[in-house]
């Protein structure tokens, strides 16, 4: 309650000052002249945050940021339709121009007051899932984000069935949507081949070569640019023309940025 009172007091004071003396505030803006990618961090190895279109304008930090690889980036504030604004980085070579102006409207876009939340654009992922009838699935994968909110992954793993483990490998496509700061929603679809070492192990008629398709949905928490953890529900279908095994499940995955 103390915080609230203090907040109300600050608000009243600022309203009084604003009415009494119109203050001139400084405002830096970046105007995009040709479509460009905005990254989550100062470097091309960071995940794309959004695609800026020609004519887009963003609040701009006074400082140019130098990335780990020596590249220079403008630091801007990206306001989304929902959720809090995020800090983004645009290479200085991009076709943009900057503007400096003084305005008498309150400046609430001080870019440097926001903490950047950088995410690597490639990662190594390890996943583990529990399936029905006490069967399990583990995978390791290499994921890359070629566009904002879209990743592609190569994966290998093992279906741990009653008597044997079946090696599987395939590709995955996933959509990820940042919702609240470090939390994001994801939906994925993966498909590939399974090698079942024992005939009839996974389903009646299962032979060495079968196929799998998996889908999953859940929440991902990104701790920083190098680490994330996901929890979600999934389903997997292992099938061949002779038979199939369908199972819902629940899984966890850990992600390390590369």
């Amino acid at each position: 309650m103390m915080y609230l009172r203090r907040g109300v007091f600050h608000f009243i004071i600022s309203v009084l000052f604003a009415s009494a003396v119109p203050a001139l505030a400084k405002s830096n803006r970046l105007i995009v002249e040709s479509d460009t990618t905005v990254f989550t961090g100062p470097g091309f190895k960071f995940r794309p945050l959004t695609n800026a279109k020609s004519g887009d304008q963003f609040p701009l930090s006074k400082k140019v940021v130098v990335g780990r690889d020596g590249g220079e980036f403008y630091k801007v504030l990206i306001k989304k339709k929902s959720g809090p604004p995020r800090v983004g980085f645009i290479p200085i070579e991009a076709s943009v121009r900057t503007e400096f102006s003084e305005t008498d409207s309150p400046v609430d876009d001080d870019v440097d007051s926001y903490i950047p939340f950088s995410q690597a654009d490639t990662s190594f992922q390890v996943g583990f899932a529990g399936l029905k009838d006490s069967n399990f699935l583990w995978t390791v994968g290499y994921a890359k984000y070629p566009a904002p909110g879209l990743y592609l992954k190569l994966l290998v793993g093992q279906l741990l069935y009653k008597r044997a483990g079946s090696l599987l490998g395939g590709v995955e496509v996933g959509f990820e949507q940042s919702t609240f700061d470090q939390f994001s929603l994801y939906l994925l679809l993966s498909s590939g081949v399974v090698n079942i070492p024992i005939v009839d192990e996974v389903f009646a008629g299962s032979k060495s070569l079968s196929f799998f398709t998996q889908s999953g949905m859940g929440i991902r928490y990104t701790a920083d640019e190098d680490a994330a953890v996901s929890f979600g529900l999934l389903q997997i279908a292992i099938f061949s023309p002779n038979g199939s095994y369908i199972s819902p499940g629940a899984g966890i995955s850990l992600e390390v940025g590369l």
């Binding site: 309650m1 479509d35 949507q177 099938f239």
Partner: protein, 366 residues
């Protein structure tokens, strides 16, 4: 206390932003009649959008009232059937930055069949919304019983996956590619249908069909929507190819042409052609040793069908639309016969179905 204040503030903001909400309702009724089977299908759907159109919640109710005295039913001495199927659905959608998410649940029930299906889908916009990728998945559990055998109870699970890519080609043309996979596992036959088996004596008997326990269905479709400005005609063309693990292959070609005749009246003409090759184990009449799988399901036979329909739509205002629908449907089987007397093939003839479908619907927005 601080947390409580923050929660109150968030609730207040949420309540304020939901002030802009729209409710849409649609109801329709459709009747299929091929002379022997009649299906009446009323349905009602309600959808509300909130948070400045960013979120939507919907619910639906649909029903099929079936009465049939088709040859499949009467040839086995069964009385004409009457049954109802009821379906309840609910869905939730969320429009995110650069994409969308949707969740759905559908419950369907009739006296001898129950199913629950859960679905989730997402889209992702790329290249300034010129390209949209979509993925979807569903999981369903079905329970099959028989009204003629109280001890009969079987299960079927299905798992579906879809991927789509939509590309805007110009201001008047859009193309879409879709792939669907559905894996079905469990009891995939009907407790009522019977396969016809010719015994060594020449007599034909009906035995309960026996299907494989899995069916993996694949389909690929391409859709092309084009607006021909000089004549102000909207064309919607699609082709779908289908292949499954039972050996059924099919192709579907569809065309819909829509024309706004005035500010309040539009007309849509639809045409559909479908051609199917039979399942690998399908036979109209099996020998005494039919092999592991045998069926009485005519939809596994080779056949072709076409459909032609007309739909006038009247726009009373921006918020109220009303339409009528009339369709003619014809289905010709290459190797499935309409049974007369079961034990005798002399009165068999190739099955051909002709049906009329009529319907009406109203869409409103509050």
């Amino acid at each position: 206390m601080k947390i409580l204040c923050l929660i109150s503030l968030q609730v207040l903001l949420l309540t304020t932003s939901t002030a802009y909400a729209a409710i849409e309702a649609a109801s329709a009724i459709r009747q299929y009649d091929d002379g022997k089977t009649k299906v009446m299908s009323p349905k009602l759907e309600v959808k509300g959008t909130f948070l400045g159109d960013r979120a939507n919640v919907g619910a639906g109710y649909a029903m099929d009232v079936v009465s049939s005295a088709s040859s499949d039913v009467t040839s086995y001495g069964t009385k004409p059937i009457k049954e109802n199927r009821q379906e309840l659905s609910a869905n939730l959608g969320w429009l995110a930055d650069g994409g969308s998410y949707s969740w759905s649940v559908v419950s369907s029930e009739e006296n001898d069949y129950k199913s629950m299906t859960y679905g989730v889908g997402a889209t992702r916009e790329l290249f300034e919304k010129n390209t949209i990728l979509g993925i979807g998945t569903g999981y369903g559990d079905d329970t099959i019983t028989s009204s003629s055998n109280k001890n009969f109870k079987r299960y079927m699970t299905n798992s579906s996956y879809s991927f789509s890519a939509t590309q805007i080609l110009s201001r008047t043309a859009v193309i879409q590619l879709l792939y669907d996979l559905r894996v079905e596992n469990g009891y995939l036959a009907s407790p009522y249908r019977k396969a016809r088996i010719q015994q060594a004596s020449g007599t034909i008997i009906g035995v309960p069909e026996n299907h494989p326990k899995t069916r993996n269905r694949n389909s690929v479709a391409i859709k092309f929507n084009y607006f021909f400005k000089p004549l102000e005609l909207a064309f919607s063309t699609s082709f779908r190819a289908y292949l499954d693990s039972w050996g059924v292959t099919s192709g579907t070609l569809e065309e819909r042409i829509t024309k706004d005749l005035s500010s309040w009246l539009s007309l849509a003409l639809s045409l559909r052609y479908y051609n199917q090759m039979q399942a690998s184990f399908y036979k109209d009449i099996y020998e005494a040793e039919p092999g592991p799988f045998y069926t009485g399901n005519k939809t596994l036979a080779a056949y072709s069908s076409y459909q032609i329909g007309l739909r006038p739509l009247i726009k009373f205002s921006d918020d109220i639309k009303f339409y009528l629908k009339g369709e003619y449907y014809s289905q010709s089987f290459q190797n499935h016969t309409a049974l007369g007397k079961l034990s005798d093939t002399s009165d068999d003839k190739k099955l051909k179905l002709e049906a009329f479908v009529v319907g009406a619907g109203i869409e409103t927005r509050f």
